[in-house]
């Protein structure tokens, strides 16, 4: 049952580098989940067994993109989470369509990424300068962003560019172009986590921010960069979704919890310090296939929500027990939640 670490960088003290077992990958459980749900779909609706997978491949990339950003943020350690991704997606969808109509589709996508980054800057200023805990900072950002979305929605009467629409729906050898694009981004992120200064620093900060700081890592810069990437990915997703579906004020709503769930299900530690990029794919495919299955069986949106929530809670409880990170992560979470300078005296009410 024990989950061994897939990356050689993150070996536990009792498992030295040389004697590392070729263990169970962190995304293994979610892959089993994908296969199980796929099997169930084939049982419920026999014939054309690859149809549900192909269908999932058109929807999953968007979720993967958001989850990759969320993964970087969550990996920064306890307390780090970006709950503004959902509203950023909705806002970016309007921005990309509006800019796309007047300047061009590429500029539209760039503008979508730009507003994602702008929203992330707002969160980063609150986190780093005002020392607001990330969850509150990103919640506040999401409130501001949702107001902006409502204002944009009132003004917007455009629809997505035809060329962009074609690109988003295009397929090469039956595989959507978007899926290939996101796959490439996933590979880049996975390699960055293993081999680049930024990626390794994110992991180091997640394992111990204080130790990382002593080691000379600029924790604030790494934190800022992770949130920026997350905001940019959410913006890009919004821009692409605007062409794939259409802009709407609730376009991104479900992506907030879904992205967190996908990250957790994919094997990334909610306590930070271990990122599993492959898990974003298995987690997202599992989620998309699962809602396909539930739709097929005729479950209502309400019942699907209940299952999703229970699933997230169950996975968090099980993974906290399996990795034994729960207790220490809570202590670190509480430490990270101290406002401003630490002063023991003021904590006694």
């Amino acid at each position: 049952m024990s989950v061994t670490l897939s990356s050689p960088l993150l070996t536990e003290p009792d498992a030295p580098l040389g004697r590392r077992r070729i263990g169970w990958p962190a995304w293994g459980w979610s892959l089993i989940g994908v296969l199980a749900v796929w099997a169930l779909i084939v049982i419920v609706r026999p014939g054309a067994p690859f149809d549900p997978l192909a269908q999932a491949m058109t929807l999953a990339p968007f979720l993967v993109l958001v989850a990759l950003g969320q993964m970087l943020v969550i990996t920064l350690g306890p307390g780090n989470i970006d709950v503004s991704v959902g509203t950023i997606i909705s806002m970016a969808s309007y921005v990309s369509v509006a800019v796309g109509a007047s300047v061009g589709p590429v500029a539209g996508i760039l503008a979508a990424v730009g507003v994602g980054i702008a929203a992330a800057v707002c969160s980063i200023v609150a986190i780093l300068l005002l020392r607001v805990p990330p969850i509150i900072a990103t919640l506040a950002t999401s409130l501001i962003v949702s107001s902006a979305t409502l204002l944009l929605a009132d003004a917007s009467r455009h629809s997505a560019d035809a060329g962009l629409r074609e690109f988003v729906n295009a397929k090469i050898l039956g595989i959507p172009v978007i899926a290939l694009l996101v796959l490439a981004i996933t590979v880049v992120i996975a390699l960055a986590l293993r081999h680049t200064r930024f990626g390794l620093s994110v992991l180091a900060v997640g394992q111990s921010a204080r130790a990382a700081e002593r080691a000379g890592i600029k924790v604030w810069a790494i934190t800022a960069l992770a949130y920026l990437v997350c905001g940019a990915f959410a913006g890009l997703t919004g821009g692409l979704l605007a062409a794939f579906i259409s802009p709407s004020t609730v376009l991104g709503t479900s992506y907030m919890l879904d992205s967190i769930a996908v990250v957790v299900i994919g094997g990334t530690l909610i306590s930070g310090g271990r990122a599993v990029a492959t898990g974003a794919w298995t987690g997202a495919l599992f989620f998309v296939l699962l809602s396909g299955l539930l739709n097929l069986v005729g479950w209502s949106i309400g019942a699907q929500n209940i299952l999703k929530g229970v699933l997230v809670v169950a996975v968090v409880i099980v993974s906290a027990a399996a990795t034994g990170t729960g207790r220490s992560s809570r202590a670190r979470l509480r430490e990270s939640l101290h406002l401003g300078t630490r002063n023991k005296e003021t904590t006694h009410g």
Partner: protein
């Protein structure tokens, strides 16, 4: 005799005063914001300074104040509840459907919610999982349940609940009575009762509480149960005002309650519970809606205004904490 007594008491008194001043400062800040909002509102609409005017203005703050007291209890042990908004929505749905049609089933559901919260408290304590993620996950369970029971807003609340919402004493605005009641309940639970002391001890120094012979799990479970009860009261009061159920009716309560506690001088790391501050914070945030409509600004700006005020007060707090030390 008296001189020696006062001499020994003076340092204690002084540090007490200093600590309460530094704790109370943020609440003072939100009191100032409250007075400013009130001033602008009265300047634009002088009629608001009557019993009926104040009733109208403060009505929306009543459920928020109860929810803020619940969030304050959870935050005093060092946790955060991100499912509060969804759960209040679910309570309004239960109030508008099951509670009217089959009261026993409705009450059973509400009791089940309290039991689930007890279980959440136990899981957070025993498994050490972050309360943020667990309550965020649970919020989807609440929304799912609400959509299952009542897919679209509607239903009717039972007669007794509607009567509660319609209650209008002539001498004082009814919402003020509820707000004071919520504050007194929160004050008793967190500052006056023994469990309140244990809660704050769990938040500030869990090992000390354990060494004193108290059960950590027991304390956290009781905290969650008390909070769930206050959340249910908040949901019932919201339903009594809207007279219908809507799962999304309180979705902005999650941030608003956290912000109210912080505005009132609470902190994220636990160990502190300031009921009067939480109430002041909640009323301030609740009045932003009124302020926007008085200043005839678009309601689209409402959430942005809340977000900016939360950030502004947190920033102000960091600055004042620098100066008071």
């Amino acid at each position: 005799m008296t001189t020696t007594l006062s001499a020994t008491m003076r340092p204690a008194m002084a540090s007490r005063l200093r600590v309460s001043a530094s704790h109370g400062f943020p609440a003072l800040l939100s009191l100032v914001a409250l007075v400013v909002i009130l001033g602008i509102t009265v300047a634009n609409q002088p009629g608001i300074l009557s019993v009926s005017g104040l009733t109208l203005m403060l009505m929306s703050a009543v459920p928020l104040v109860f929810a803020a007291q619940a969030q304050m209890l959870i935050m005093s042990v060092g946790d955060i509840d991100l499912g509060i908004g969804a759960l209040i929505g679910l309570v309004t749905v239960i109030a508008a459907t099951l509670l009217a049609e089959s009261p026993i089933l409705g009450v059973g559901m509400l009791v089940a919610i309290v039991l689930v919260y007890a279980l959440l408290g136990l899981i957070v304590q025993k498994r050490g999982v972050p309360s943020i993620i667990i309550t965020l996950g649970m919020s989807f369970v609440w929304i799912g349940l609400g959509l299952q029971i009542l897919p679209t807003p509607g239903g009717t609340t039972p007669e007794w609940l509607t009567a509660l919402g319609r209650w209008r004493p002539e001498a004082i605005p009814a919402p003020l009575v509820f707000i004071v009641a919520a504050t007194v309940i929160g004050w008793y639970l967190s500052r006056q009762s023994r469990i309140g002391t244990r809660m704050r001890a769990l938040g500030s120094s869990a090992p000390t509480l354990q060494k004193a012979g108290w059960s950590l799990a027991g304390t956290r479970v009781v905290t969650y149960v008390l909070a769930a009860t206050l959340i249910i009261v908040s949901g019932l009061l919201l339903a009594s005002q809207t007279r219908s159920g809507d799962i999304n009716s309180a979705s902005n309560f999650t941030l608003m309650t956290i912000a109210a506690v912080i505005l009132g001088g609470g902190n994220f790391s636990g160990g502190r519970a300031l009921p009067v501050g939480a109430t002041l914070g909640a009323v301030t945030l609740g009045l932003i809606t009124v302020l926007l409509s008085v200043m005839s600004l678009s309601s689209s700006l409402q959430s942005a205004a809340q977000g900016i005020i939360v950030l502004a007060v947190l920033a102000g707090r960091i600055i004042t904490e620098r100066f008071t030390r």
